[in-house]
């Protein structure tokens, strides 16, 4: 069931899941706003739809296949030129395991 209200802890938890660094005022504001919006959206959770199957997509597509043939893709140098940092034709990132997070 839907919760009665969204707490600050909910917002901090979801922000972590979404990898979003939020400021204090943003956390404050989102706590109220998400509660309002989810309160409105909760009208769908109140409906009895046990007999109704879900729709994920408007087209009845299952699998779409194409021939397994090599074909040109986007240009590597053009792609790498857009990256914030590269090294040896690869994307360069900070260390994976830091001290801030386990």
């Amino acid at each position: 069931m839907a919760p009665e209200r969204i707490t600050r802890a909910d917002v901090e938890h979801v922000a972590h899941l979404a990898r979003l660094a939020l400021t204090e005022p943003e956390i404050e504001e989102l706590t109220g706003q998400l509660g309002d919006i989810l309160g409105y959206a909760a009208q769908v959770s109140a409906l009895d739809l046990t007999e109704v199957p879900p729709t994920a997509h408007p087209l009845p597509l299952v699998n779409v296949f194409r021939p397994d043939e090599a074909r040109p893709g986007v240009d590597r140098d053009e792609v790498l030129a857009q990256a914030p940092a590269t090294e040896n034709n690869r994307f360069r990132v900070p260390r994976i395991l830091g001290e801030a997070r386990g």
Binding site: H16, A21, E99
Partner: protein, 479 residues
């Protein structure tokens, strides 16, 4: 009076003149660039005007004509592109700081197609960041103003494209529509806007917002011009696995077929909460259709009233997944952190605006453990109900009629403090996206404040030909 006489020359007229050699593409392009130069500062329709590339492309079109080649059905017609359509080597921002300065390594199929049809791209138009919004107030680069009244919003998210066509900066524009982002700004700016059947227009190179709902479509000053542009972009694309594989049946030949015997249903559930002036125009639209020979009755789509709530769970859920790619690794902004996770979070915190953060949070919450069934799962079931109710209505009717929006264009700041009130402006346009159906907004008179009113024609999947017939009748009979 037809829209053409209000807004000067049509795309069809330009293409005919360029193809016959009576006007040069360069002359046309220079005229539109001149209008942009004179009016853009007041409107801010564009994030980027590519004047040099436009002139070079126009010269190529003229060279083709001189060599006896036909440049295509959009020969020499200037076009504005929403800035969420990828253009190789040309900045594509989605009006977001997180993509500022990014130059895509490939071009969207729809852009390739309009260029192959002879069109001349003039630049990239402003939008609500990542197409999330209904006013362009969420653009990181400042809002677009409504050319009909600069104190009012142009609508959104494709507000720049709608304003560009309304201000005659371009006779045609491309936008994208996830919950009404073409039709709502078309209504607010007094132009024609089309959301095609899901899968008819390629999404390859359209930067994803909510992939099961997003669809690219045309803006134009006339219904015929919108048909011309839709025919140029529709049809299967091997680069989009959700593209419908059947060949496109062109709509241009249907536009002037008339509406004798066409069965039109007015959706009663979507009349609640509509402003009186908008409701009055809708009632006049019914009279116009009846006078043209259509059979008009009341239609019922009961689940439409839950469409908005379902949409504001489904679209953010899909967005939270699609926007996970903006992580500071491969393109766009990076804000350094002590490790990768910290860099990801700081980059996203600094790069996304308030509405995008709100949707990502909403979607992540709706998909998170413990809430998935109550929110996202239920919303997907409502989506089934909406489709079933439309299917039932289309057993009795060929097309359906609603207002495009509950109100005319509102003023800046009216709804920015209350996200839910902004979302409610999409109530009439959203059910179509949930069903994957086509819809068109046609200008039909003005409201009490003198701002344009849009009337919306809906059709079942691939029912565009009947939809355009009704739209043309409304255009001809508009006050």
């Amino acid at each position: 009076m037809s829209a053409a006489t209000r807004n000067g020359e049509t795309a069809a007229e330009i293409a005919a003149a360029v193809r016959s050699g009576t006007r040069s593409a360069r002359e046309v392009t220079d005229a539109y660039l001149g209008r942009i130069g004179a009016g853009e500062e007041a409107v801010h329709a564009f994030n980027l005007v590519t004047a040099d590339a436009a002139r070079a492309r126009a010269d190529e079109i003229d060279a083709m004509i001189a060599d006896g080649h036909d440049p295509g059905p959009l020969a020499g017609v200037p076009i504005a592109l929403k800035d969420n359509l990828c253009t190789r080597g040309v900045a594509t921002t989605c009006s977001s700081r997180i993509l500022a300065g990014w130059e895509p390594p490939y071009t969207a199929t729809v852009v390739e197609r309009v260029v192959a049809a002879g069109a001349v791209p003039l630049g990239k138009t402003n939008l609500d960041e990542f197409a999330m919004g209904s006013s362009t107030e969420n653009s990181a680069f400042g809002p677009t103003r409504n050319p009909r009244d600069p104190s009012r919003v142009p609508g959104g998210s494709s507000g720049g494209s709608a304003a560009a066509v309304a201000a005659e900066f371009a006779p045609l524009a491309l936008g994208s529509d996830t919950g009404g982002s073409i039709r709502q700004p078309a209504a607010f700016c007094g132009v024609v806007g089309v959301k095609p059947t899901y899968g008819t227009v390629s999404r390859y190179g359209l930067i994803a917002f909510a992939s099961s709902l997003d669809q690219v479509g045309p803006f134009a000053n006339t219904v015929t011009d919108a048909a011309l542009l839709l025919d140029a972009i529709a049809g299967p694309d091997p680069l989009d696995s959700t593209s419908i594989r059947a060949e496109w049946n062109p709509v241009i030949s249907a536009v002037d077929e008339g509406i004798e015997g066409l069965r039109v249903g007015v959706v009663t559930e979507l009349l609640d909460g509509i402003d009186a002036d908008v409701a009055a125009r809708l009632s006049e639209a019914v009279d116009v259709l009846r006078a043209g020979g259509a059979k008009v009755g009341d239609a019922s789509v009961p689940a439409a009233i839950h469409g908005l709530a379902a949409y504001y769970l489904i679209a953010p859920a899909e967005a939270s997944s699609n926007l996970a790619r903006y992580d500071g690794v491969r393109y766009g902004l990076r804000v350094d952190g002590v490790d990768v996770a910290d860099m990801n979070a700081k980059t996203r915190g600094a790069g996304f605006g308030a509405e995008v953060k709100r949707r990502i949070m909403l979607g992540t919450y709706a998909l998170s453990a413990g809430y998935y069934d109550a929110y996202y799962g239920q919303a997907q079931r409502v989506r089934t109900l909406v489709i079933r109710d439309f299917d039932a209505a289309y057993r009795d009717f060929d097309v359906l009629l609603t207002p495009t929006t509950p109100t005319t264009a509102f003023e800046f700041g009216d709804k920015t403090g209350d996200p839910l009130s902004m979302y409610l402006s999409d109530v009439c346009t959203i059910p179509t996206n949930l069903a994957g159906h086509p819809a068109i907004s046609v200008p039909f008179g003005t409201g009490a404040n003198g701002m344009p009113v849009g009337v919306q024609v809906l059709a079942p999947a691939l029912g565009e030909r009947a939809m355009f017939r009704a739209a043309r009748a409304l255009e001809l009979g508009a006050p």
